[in-house]
Symmetry: D2
Subunit: 326 residues, 4 copies
């Protein structure tokens, strides 16, 4: 089953991934982690929720932390190109008999809430409160100096099906892993905004959120964060890295927040705006696709993820999961 | 005269800037400069011309060096989204009574040659030969490790008119400099591909090409190039920098090739894909817009540029050009 | 007059430069500059004085800020190898009919106060309070992340005489600038601790302190400081750089504190511990010795300096001071 | 058994570590590894041997590769302060009934060959051919841009005995690992040249050479090398890292040459010239001393090393070697 041809004229125009809402069990601990340690900027907070943005973002929030009993991801948010795209999106999801509703969301305009084919909770909006630029207020930079939210990565029980669904929405595959007979996709990276990905899927029990990534300027920012975390009580929150992925060529670090939500710190990326940009194929047996430099990932990285609110996860359709090289 | 509202639904879809063709007087000297010193990769060469690409590019060329008597810029190239966009572009330019023709170009498909409102020679294509990825062949990286062509910057005798013209084509303003009464634009940065710019205009005798920029990973690559140039006979080719622009927040270095064509080495950029991304206004009197850190630019940087083939440059409509802070 | 042969068995053993005491006119403003902006750590403060150390230092202070009416440098401090070296130093200076006295200094043991041949106030000690290491307390790192004091640079009215004097004390020349006939030294860099310099001399009205340097890990720390200073009200305090010196190969930035005391931020250095390490000669006419990359220094950098307490400065014996390339 | 007090007035003056001689089984393969891949400079070569230096070194060689049947380390070389120190060294070793002889060595003056208390082959010299500086010939920089040899690390069957021996020679301990009762040293880092170490000892079957380290400017050079090695056929030669040691605070990478000789690429270091510089104690049970960021080292790193020519290795006197945290 080959990678589908890109849908260059989708029914509605998604600009980019926008934000994630996490349920966290200790709001204060999460605030310390994201604002004080990582360096995200708080744009609004009250007793129950905290909104954050990264340093070059003008939109009001790229992350919402909401106090709750059970750690999970409430929704993945995406920005569309116009109000009309919202209506077209509603039609598109409804036609696929997926649940759609218009919800009130603070700091956002009209918002469409829906789910993807496996139940991942999604929301789309066109308007979000715009804030003054702060990317040249260098006194605000600290921690890992996060510049922007970069992408989501989800476990999918059927990557071929997930890719087909998002491909129809206009997401284009940039890199992918197949088994050697090119029968099934093991993983795929898909973009809207012109980089390696806005959304990626990895084979596994799902749907679950594998990680949310933030883009930083250079590998030295990642090293600074490692030094900081390892000497301020966050050693156990370092899960994997630093290293370079073969796939995407990213210099990466994976960390876990106080509830276990996984965050990737990411730098290096490449431009993929050409409509005829050819996806790169990786063989499932090539260990360098995971880690160009050869160091193995811990088992937790392959197995653990964040549940999505209201979505029960099911086992992957792919039986034998080779832990050594997924 | 304010910045025009962005044209979010242009008549034809330009994906990004693509390439420049320079006339150079000593092909061997230019090859040494761009391939050996800067680190661009030669993809084709014969006695009269050399084609080069940067390290993450898949298209066949981002620069063509053509042997000739007089150093000038033959054309600025742009990639469109589809073959149909080429035809729509032809209609659009013809309607404005600008010259259009279909030209044969090696390694490119059907190519539309035209000129902008001030005579800047432009070409548009959809198809270019695609090459294998080399961004993970790290043995090829040397010099400044150029990853991709990033933008053009042109002198315009009337920046308001240039901006209005490119705005109609769908280029969106990200930052601009106005005089204090907001009557006239002094300079503007406009993008298609989601970064700060594909094309910028600066007030001055024009049209002339001010510079062509290449994107590199970190400021350390710029420092490496400075060390290399200053100890291998290229000291006089260093014109300005390193420094950080207020506008665009770029960490920059300006160098001159053996014929004086100006190249910017550029890192740091920010994402501008949101359709409601607000342009940043800079006052003409704010010296930090040019250099955030305060060091002045040399006079040559304000005055010198590359002539465009077949386009006579005229003086700016703005009389008093304050060299100290243009 | 050639560079003198190194005195490999000096009468007393100086380990390294140690600290400087500045008189500052606004203690709060200076605290903000050195502690909040640059990132030095306050180790003691009261109404009249502040003691600071850099991040990898174990000694109690590398800088003392003392409130006073007139900005000047009270003393340059050096650490010797043993208590006995203090007595030998006293003998050495007394024999040269230079003033010596034993002074009480907080946080230091027995301290010898004296002056060099041109009146530069010096102090020598063996014991200073030792503090716990903090170089792995990464939460303390901010600003430019200064790791240690690196060197002093002084204007001397007669560099040959200064070099001869410090050479007798065991300082060894690593690099120097001569006029073309090798008759006179224009500048010289001298070390005790095994790097390019603990002490340097530049021709000019003197004695005056040209600058005090701090060592930082990478050029990116310098860039971070430039971004920070230029957006927090310290733009006018940036005097020169970033750049690379030909001499010493240092990546440098020169800034001025609120009283005009000049600080160099310095990275890159090389090891000079070999007793037969050959000094590098630079010709006065070689412009790259000042700035490898070719950008000129501002006039203030050549002319301005900090007066030493109790030492009147006299004009240089070298008449024609070529501002363009000293 | 505590760390011995430093011997501040040793019988002879060792300046620094200087060079290592490796027996390699395939001279061409080793040349490719050290010169082409790592970036050391060849200063002499013939059919049987290759001499190399790093980029800021003036001495003729820091490494000698000698063709032979069996990979081993022939000798560790040290530079002394004067010819007289050589004679004093001969007396010192002879008094301890260790073998001494004067040997002819190319490019070196009079050379004393001897062995340490466990049979590690050592040589001392004062004079070595001095070469022109190349640290500002930036066209020569490639690979990992090695600036200088930094230190040796040896397995010792009795670290307390090794430390006592080198302490008498004037090496000073900067950091060390003890068991929790402070009865025995597990490892120790000792310097002469004013950094964290010229020589280190780790508990294990010995004497064997654990690694030879080279100093590079920034962590980005290490990342560049990882990218290069992993895409040019040297993936299997990457053994451990990148990471930061708790001990020494080094940012490190360990690689193996074609014969298995281990090389550390090392950056970050701190100044230790103060005679009263206090050593830092690490507890054997603290896992962060090995890796500040928590990633484990592979078993090979704990177990494998290079045999010394003519020195049979014996088991450590410490029985239970906790592989998880040595």
């Amino acid at each position: 089953m080959p990678v589908p041809s890109p849908n260059l004229y989708p029914d509605f125009n998604i600009v980019r991934l926008s934000h994630v809402e996490f349920v966290v069990t200790d709001l204060a601990a999460s605030r310390t982690f994201y604002a004080d340690l990582l360096g995200l900027q708080v744009t609004h907070e009250d007793e129950d929720e905290i909104f954050l943005r990264a340093l070059e973002e003008r939109g009001h929030h790229c992350m919402i932390l909401r106090k709750g009993e059970r750690a999970e991801a409430n929704v993945l948010g995406f920005k569309v190109y116009s109000e009309e795209d919202l209506d077209r999106a509603q039609t598109w999801f409804a036609r696929r008999e997926l649940p759609t509703s218009w919800v009130e969301r603070p700091f956002q305009g009209r918002t469409l809430r829906t789910r993807d084919v496996f139940g991942v909770p999604l929301e789309f909006y066109y308007k979000m409160d715009r804030l003054q630029p702060i990317h040249q207020q260098y006194r605000l930079y600290h921690g890992v100096k996060p510049l922007r939210i970069d992408h989501f990565n989800c476990f999918s029980p059927n990557v071929d099906a997930s890719v087909a669904f998002y491909n129809e929405m206009g997401f284009r595959v940039t890199e992918y892993t197949e088994d050697e007979d090119s029968r099934m996709l093991w993983a795929a990276w898909m973009h809207r905004k012109g980089g390696v990905h806005d959304m990626a899927f990895t084979n596994g029990r799902g749907p679950r959120l594998h990680h949310t990534a933030f883009w930083v300027p250079t590998p030295l920012n990642v090293i600074d964060l490692l030094d900081l975390m390892s000497t301020t009580g966050y050693l156990a929150n370092i899960e994997r890295g630093p290293g370079r992925h073969g796939i995407s060529n990213a210099f990466f670090l994976y960390i876990r927040d106080p509830d276990g939500h996984r965050i990737e710190i990411y730098c290096s990326d490449y431009q993929t705006v050409d409509p005829d940009h050819e996806p790169i194929r990786w063989d499932l047996k090539d260990p360098q696709r995971q880690t160009l430099w050869g160091a193995p990932a811990p088992r937790s990285w392959f197995e653990e993820g964040t549940a999505f609110a209201g979505a029960g996860a099911v086992e992957s359709i792919l039986k034998a999961q080779p832990i050594v090289a997924p």
